[in-house]
Amino acid sequence: MFEVLGISSQALFGQLLIGLINGSFYALLSLGLAVIFGMLNIINFTHGAQYMLGAFTAFFLLRYAGMGYWWAIVVAPLVIGLTGIIIERLFLQWLYKLDHLYGLLLTFGLALMFEGTFRNFFGSSGLPYSVPPELQGGRNLGFMFLPNYRAWVVLFSLAVCLATWFVIERTKLGSYLRAATENPTLVRAFGINVPRMITLTYGFGVALAALAGVMAAPIYNVSPQMGSNLIIVVFAVVVIGGMGSIMGAIVTGFGLGIIEGLTKVFFPEASNTVIFIIMAIVLLIRPAGLFGRGA
């Protein structure tokens, strides 16, 4: 055993791992935001509310349809993704040519409406949702007790993140998407239905938020304000990673989770500000973010 600044290596490894777990939520959420911003140029402030909706959908599925966690992880993203598509068709598609501010105001307003409605019906204390039986319990790693469910969260979100990155950066479909954001008119000339592609992209980004919500349901309390507590941090993650950068969102998501975890050991009082301090520093040195393509 060795010690770092009075903290035993045991505690340190434990905290690193926990940072990684929290980071996987940041990564998954900021990934959705980055996809949406990169492809639609919309700053999706509804993201936190959509994460919350995902968790609530999991709860409803269990209570009213008897469908457990494994169903929820498939069904909830589909359902919430579909509502995202409706939002895009009804509202967002009219805003692409306008200033970012309009999209921000619209999505922020929607987020407030979703949260307010759910608070009105379900209160603020939240609803219980338990870990699926297959993933209950945990294993002793020597330096800490790792619940099986948390291990699953890290692995699964990592897989989802990498798959998304692969699709967008390495496949033909992804290349169409990227081309459509650069020059929609030209891509359309090749016979590709650009508006439909953009609608589906928004639906996908929203589905990612809902997926994160389902994964959060057994750990955090399912409550209307669960998204707003997280979304500000996630926006900071996206800004640090570089707006619209897929890899940036993933790497900074995990990285900042770890940094925040370490802050919780060495100076817990600052653990909710450390990310914003990093954001300020990054913006001073690299205004486009760590992975952003220069402004």
């Binding site: 926990i18 307010g116 603020s124 204390s125 219980p128 619940p147 469910y149 304000q225 817990p268």
Partner: protein, 403 residues
């Protein structure tokens, strides 16, 4: 000169109505200030407005010719927002009494404003025992519970049953600090030891990191000096990380029935907690809950709601006796002079330092099999008599007591 004339005119105007009771601008205006949208909005929130309205109805204010108006606002758990609302209410909206105000940091800010403006402040939601200690004022009454009473109830009970080493998980603001301080004092006084503490940001989401630190301390008891969703998440995550099954126990130093409801009995069973009121203690309480819940999304009343009801009732009695609500200090003095008596808290008194005195209860959360259904959650472990439930008058350091 002009000022003098208008002052004289005011005096004449006031003089005219002297045959009748003198309520400032003819109305008694009650302002319910609390968290209407965040983590504390179930345990206080709109429910406190409903409780205040029920108190006014039951008092029969209208039949007695008293015009009472109730307004509510959301302080978002931020002292600056709360202070602004309190000032606007008193200066512009002519509010006579501010009620509830959970979140101790906000309550301490409002406490000063109400004293400066000579109005009345009836605290039900906030916990910091400083409100009747160094920060006591002649305009404030701390009604329902406080950190000292919680520590004295839960803390003492746990130390006496063998939980003698503690680690605190503390919400990093006035309330958490006060609860940690008061509990640590009780633990040490009863022969226990505090091994460490960690302060988490308020409100928090993930507590696993702090829980691991608590685990590493090897303390027998992890004292949760937080509230609302922070407590819910701490308990949920402690179960997940095998802390409770590993032999360490949690002490939820402040938990409300709404928290237990959110956790579910499966997770919450066996928790020991201290409260001033529970809906299933007697017929009057049950009747109140059955009337209250349908008006509040089916949520049963917490002790904060019951405290608002009780405090508003006593306030109206004092104002009726004085026939005036103009002088906040005088109203509070009257409230201290009159014994309290209402259907939820029974008979009691208000002490010189502004502490309302009544029994407290030590509850244990039922096992799922023992519960008859939603909201049937507590069994009484002990009743702490009124004269032992709160900090002795001489130990609080309230300046009002010496003079």
């Amino acid at each position: 000169m002009k000022g003098l004339i208008s002052l004289a005119a005011l005096a004449v105007a006031l003089g005219c109505g002297s045959a009748q009771a003198q309520y400032t601008d003819g109305t008694i205006k009650i302002g319910v200030l609390n968290d209407m949208s965040g983590t504390y909005s179930d345990l206080s929130g709109q429910g406190s407005v409903i409780a205040a309205r029920m108190a006014v109805e039951d008092f029969g204010a209208a039949a007695k010719g008293m015009k009472v108006e109730i307004i509510g606002a959301d302080h978002q758990n931020k002292p600056d927002v709360g202070s602004n609302i309190a000032r606007t209410w008193i200066d512009v909206d002519k509010v006579d009494v501010i009620v509830d105000v959970p979140t101790s940091s906000v309550a301490l800010a409002v406490n000063e404003i109400v004293r400066d403006k000579n109005k009345v402040f009836l605290v039900s939601g906030a916990a910091a025992s400083d409100l009747t200690g160094p920060k006591c004022t002649p305009n404030t009454i701390h009604w329902t519970y406080d950190t000292w009473a919680l520590a004295n109830g839960t803390g003492k009970a746990i130390v006496k049953t063998g939980g003698d080493t503690w680690f605190f998980l503390t919400a990093d603001y006035a309330f958490g600090h006060a609860l940690e301080r008061d509990t640590a004092a009780v633990v040490e006084k009863n022969g226990g030891k505090v091994l460490g503490r960690v302060r988490h940001p308020f409100p928090g989401t993930d507590f696993s990191s702090f829980l691991l630190q608590a685990q590493a301390s090897k303390a027998k008891i992890i004292g949760l000096a937080n509230a609302g969703s922070d407590t819910i998440n701490s308990i949920k995550q402690a179960a997940e990380f095998g802390i409770t099954s590993g032999g360490q126990n949690l002490a939820a130093l402040l938990a409300f029935i709404t928290d237990v409801h959110a956790l579910g009995l499966q997770t919450a069973q066996g928790l020991i907690l201290t409260e001033a009121w529970y809906w299933d203690l007697n017929d009057a309480d049950r009747a109140f809950a059955k009337r209250f819940a349908p008006q509040y999304k089916g949520i049963y009343p917490t002790m904060v709601h019951a405290g608002v009801y009780s405090a508003v009732t006593h306030y109206l009695k004092a104002v009726e006796a004085l026939k005036s609500d103009a002088d906040g200090k005088a109203v509070v003095a009257k409230m201290k002079e009159m014994p309290t008596d209402d259907k939820l808290f029974g008979k009691g008194t208000v002490r010189a330092d502004g502490r309302k005195i009544h029994p407290m209860y030590l509850f244990e959360v039922k096992k799922p099999a023992e519960s008859k259904g939603p909201w049937d959650y507590y069994k009484v472990r002990a009743t702490i008599p009124a004269d032992e439930a709160f900090r002795p008058l001489s130990e609080g350091g309230c300046p009002l007591v010496k003079s």
